[in-house]
């Protein structure tokens, strides 16, 4: 009996499902409040994201007629499932990760991009013109930032020589890789902004061009699942960057101290930049993002070779 309960609680309540979602929503509130304060506004109250999510859950869901209903309903669930499972391999709230196996860093990154894939497919599934354009943009942008973002996160793994998250954290316990591998850190942070489709890279859901991108036709439950998936992805991404680049997390307070500055960096950067067109983003990523990360890797390998 003892064995059964903790993993269930792990899974559903504390670091897993509900805990992850609530923390994600809290982090989304911090993000919206920061953006508002930087724009000289008061910004939303602390329970705003929860109220939004709850209201969307209680609203009626319209399923357009010529849409494959199973895909329409299933894709949001697949997206959020991917992100929630990614939450299991990441040291949330400073506690050691629930599960870890060799190569779990790669699996987490794959699970995170599962949400973007399901958003793209959801956009492709409807007849609304805006969703089709939004879907193509989401997928093109996925190929742009995915490779540099993954290579940036594999930098610390290279330094330690293993793909297991716990080993990497243990290996780099003392040093802050943020300063020893600065280029990798910058590309990782900007890659996270690309993955979360934040303003410089929010062409896929550019409100003034294609209304709401791939999610134009979603309402109620489907919309809230995608929205919660996006906020949880932000939380998971922040924890990964903090864990890998800031010398591991060893306690809830340390977790908050390390993730909030990164969130401040992201919000600040977001308010300073105009939205890039989709071709400009792809150009930016492949011309600068990939080259910078390769440069970082070369430096790493040369240093490892010497020592």
């Amino acid at each position: 009996m003892k064995l059964v309960i903790p993993p269930l609680i792990y899974m559903l309540l504390f670091p897993g499902g509900l805990g992850l979602i609530m923390t994600g929503l809290l982090y989304e509130w911090v993000h919206r409040k920061l953006v508002a304060r930087l724009q000289n506004r008061i910004g939303p109250r602390w329970f705003q994201p929860m109220a939004d999510a709850l209201k969307l859950l209680l609203k009626e869901e319209i399923i357009p007629s010529e849409v494959n209903p199973y895909l329409f309903v299933g894709l949001p669930v697949a997206g959020i499932a991917g992100v929630l499972t990614a939450g299991l391999y990441v040291p949330l709230w400073g506690f050691p990760a629930a599960y870890s196996f060799d190569g779990d860093l790669i699996v987490t990154l794959y699970l995170l991009s599962l949400l973007t894939l399901s958003t793209g497919l959801a956009g492709w599934n409807t007849r609304s013109r805006f969703s089709l354009v939004g879907a193509t943009r989401t997928l093109t942008q996925l190929f742009a930032y995915e490779a540099p973002f993954m290579m940036a996160l594999l930098g610390p793994a290279l330094a330690v020589g293993s793909w297991r998250m716990n080993d990497i954290i243990a290996g780099n316990q003392g040093t802050w890789l943020m300063f020893t591998q600065p280029i990798g850190f910058i590309v990782a942070v900007i890659g996270l902004m690309g993955k979360l489709e934040m303003p410089p890279f929010d062409a896929p859901e550019a409100e003034t061009e294609i209304v709401a991108g791939a999610l134009t036709d979603y309402s109620g439950r489907g919309l809230v699942l995608f929205h919660i998936g996006r906020t949880t992805e932000m939380l998971v991404g922040l924890t990964m960057i903090a864990a890998l680049y800031m010398g591991g997390i060893n306690g809830p307070l340390d977790f908050v101290i390390k993730t909030l500055p990164v969130l401040l960096l992201i919000s600040g950067f977001q308010t300073l930049i105009t939205r890039l067109r989709i071709d400009q983003t792809v150009g930016l990523w492949w011309r600068y993002g990939a080259l910078l990360v390769l440069l970082q890797w070369v430096v790493l390998i040369v240093l490892k070779g010497i020592s």
Binding site: L38, Q39, N40, R41, I62, I63, P64, S65, E66, T126, R127, S128, R129, F130, L132, V133, P199, P200, D202, A203, A206, E207, T208, E209, I210, V211, T271, L272, I273, T274, R275, L276, R277, I278, D279, Q280
Partner: protein, 596 residues
């Protein structure tokens, strides 16, 4: 009881000096055409700055192209004038404006079944005016490619021409009930991938329906359907007295409300021969300057929002609140100021308000300098604006662009300088120009105009003439016709008012600036990315409620050397749709893809 004719107006020398040489030139190249006219040949000049010429319908194209060949100004508007069932004739007035002079070609037409040769081949901007003329008066332009409804809704009963004097129009609810919308769905076949923007769309503050045919992300065809904000104002002015019309016409457009109010009151004051006291004219110019500042700051925010730069939107609108507070203190309302009265101004600017104005303007000038620096140096913003939607000087003249959009391409056209009205003679304003012609130049021109407005208001405040605020204005305006041109924040607003001695005008024609800028915007959209389109539309600062026009720009229809994506005339893979098909596709797309 018809009022007597007004006393002869005092003719100021400055106006004559500018107008005289232009009329000599007009008489010289129009003489052969005018003499051929059978009805009443010859030139007559009802007002010092206006000349009327009666010509035959047949010579219209030659006369119009004569104007452009001799580089004599541009076609400002086409006014339809119905002289009523008794005299049984209709008149089409083609107004050409050059500097301060206005030449009107008058063509007499039968009231029913008349037709006019189209001059849209030579002057693309005329395509709009002819479509409106056809729709409102039933005089169809021969040779115009596409003249389906411009303003009126699709389900408007055929053969019902609203602006003819003797048509009685059923109430809107009956028209709505005989709605012919459930036509069979036309299968649109292959054709291109159409992205509809509007009428309900976050990029548009106002309803307009754009359909961009795209290949991947590149726009290859653009068409636009407005008409959502058409309320039938010109017909309504004929059933209201002069004082009520002032407030009706002030609400043609919320952002440039003072422009329309002052243009209309200038026209009525010219007709009544009333001279507005100097202080009232100066206060009108102050409010016009404040309106220009508020309109340009608003535009800066909306354009930045559409480019995705929300911080600039938030900050520019926060600073715009200063000018809105000033307007509210002086006039009593933030948007529709209603400070104009026929023959003067309602509110005065006392010393306290003058100091508040000076303080507010200093703050605004300092902030506008900062925005100017942001807009011209921020490299991420420049990626969205530099050499995008470039329009050369020749194109701007050819397409008839007006206001800051034209001045950004080097066209010197500003009514406040060319034909100064009201207080602009005593407190002149300088023209702001740029030659690059791209979106960045339009940002620069509008922001520089902020500085000009700030300094103009300061000079007026320093030497505000102190006379009383209003003069006596007769309720019945003596019969006559007049033209009044005013520089709105978006370009020149053109008013034609005809009075018949009673207290209700016989005809009020409003041609608003955004109307002339539409072709240029849609032309720039072709060949650009879809992502640039909202910024291009915002670039010309469209004011839909100012006008309601529809233009169809197919990729090979606008040949005439105007840049278009595919080469002239080749329709190798594009399957060209008629407008009917596109419109039907738009409607049934909504019905099928829309609700459950």
């Amino acid at each position: 009881m018809v009022a007597t004719a007004p006393a002869p107006k005092p003719v100021n020398a400055e106006l004559l000096a500018d107008v005289e040489p232009r009329f000599v030139k007009v008489r010289e190249f129009l003489e052969p055409i005018a003499s051929r006219c059978t009805v009443a040949p010859g030139f007559n000049s009802p007002e010092p700055n206006r000349i009327d010429v009666n010509i035959e319908a047949g010579d219209l194209l030659t006369a119009a192209s004569a104007f452009y060949d001799n580089h004599w100004g541009y076609l400002a508007a086409i006014t339809g004038l119905d002289h009523g069932p008794e005299e049984d004739y209709l008149e089409a007035l083609y107004h050409f404006c050059g500097g301060a002079a206005v030449t009107t070609l008058r063509v007499k037409l039968p009231r029913h079944g008349g037709s006019v040769p189209s001059i849209a081949e030579r002057i693309p901007a005329a395509g709009f005016f002819e479509r409106e003329f056809a729709e409102m008066f039933g005089v169809y332009p021969t040779g115009l490619q596409d003249c389906s409804h411009l303003f009126l809704p699709e389900d408007w009963p055929d053969g019902l021409y609203p602006l003819l004097k003797d048509t009685e129009i059923p109430s809107p609810k009956t028209i709505a009930s005989m709605d012919g919308l459930d036509k069979p769905i036309v299968d649109q076949g292959g054709g291109r991938f159409i992205v509809p923007i509007g009428p309900q769309h976050p990029a548009l503050k106002e309803p307009g329906h754009f359909e961009f045919t795209v290949e991947g992300e590149i726009v290859v065809g653009a068409s636009m359907r407005l008409g959502y904000v058409h309320r039938g104002l010109e017909k309504a002015t004929e059933s209201r007295n002069y004082i009520q019309n002032l407030y009706l016409l002030e609400r043609v457009c919320g952002i440039c409300s003072h422009t329309h109010a002052s243009a209309y009151s200038n026209a009525v004051e010219q007709l009544a021969g009333v001279e507005v006291p100097l202080r009232a004219q100066a206060i009108r110019e102050i409010v016009a300057g404040l309106e220009r500042i508020h309109s340009h700051l608003l535009w800066l925010g909306v354009a930045a929002h559409e480019a995705g730069f929300d911080t600039l939107f938030m900050y520019s609108w926060r600073d715009r609140e200063t000018v809105m507070d000033l307007l509210e203190q002086i006039t009593g309302n933030r948007v529709n100021y209603s400070i104009c009265l026929l023959g003067g101004v309602k509110q005065d600017v006392n010393y306290a308000q003058a100091d508040a104005l000076r303080a507010g303007l200093d703050y605004l000038e300092q902030r506008s300098r900062h925005y100017y620096e942001v807009v011209t140096t921020d490299s991420m913003f420049l990626q969205r604006t530099r050499d995008i939607g470039t329009m050369s000087l020749a194109q701007a003249e050819y397409l008839g662009a007006l206001g800051p959009t034209a001045r950004a391409s080097g066209v010197v056209r500003d009514v406040r300088v060319e034909a100064p009205y009201g207080a602009y003679r005593r407190f002149p304003v300088s023209v702001v120009m740029d030659t690059a012609g791209d979106l960045e130049a339009r940002f620069k021109v509008r922001l520089k105009e902020l500085f000009v407005s700030c300094s103009a208001i300061r000079t007026i405040l320093d030497n505000l003439p102190d006379t009383e605020l209003t003069t006596r204005m007769p309720r019945r305006v003596p019969a006559g016709e007049t033209v009044s041109r005013v520089e709105a924040p978006r370009g020149e607003a053109f008013y034609f008012v005809k009075s018949n001695g009673t207290d209700m005008p016989e005809r009020v024609k409003v041609r608003t600036p955004s109307l002339c800028n539409w072709t240029s915007v849609l032309n720039q959209a072709i060949g650009r990315q879809l992502a640039d389109v909202p910024l291009l539309i915002a670039g010309m600062d469209p004011c839909f409620s100012c006008n309601d026009r529809m233009v169809v720009v197919r990729d090979n229809s606008m040949h005439h050397g105007v840049r278009s994506a595919s080469s002239k005339g080749d329709a190798h893979h594009t399957e060209i749709w008629t407008w009917e098909k596109l419109r039907q596709y738009g409607i049934d797309f909504y019905r099928r893809g829309g609700n459950k």
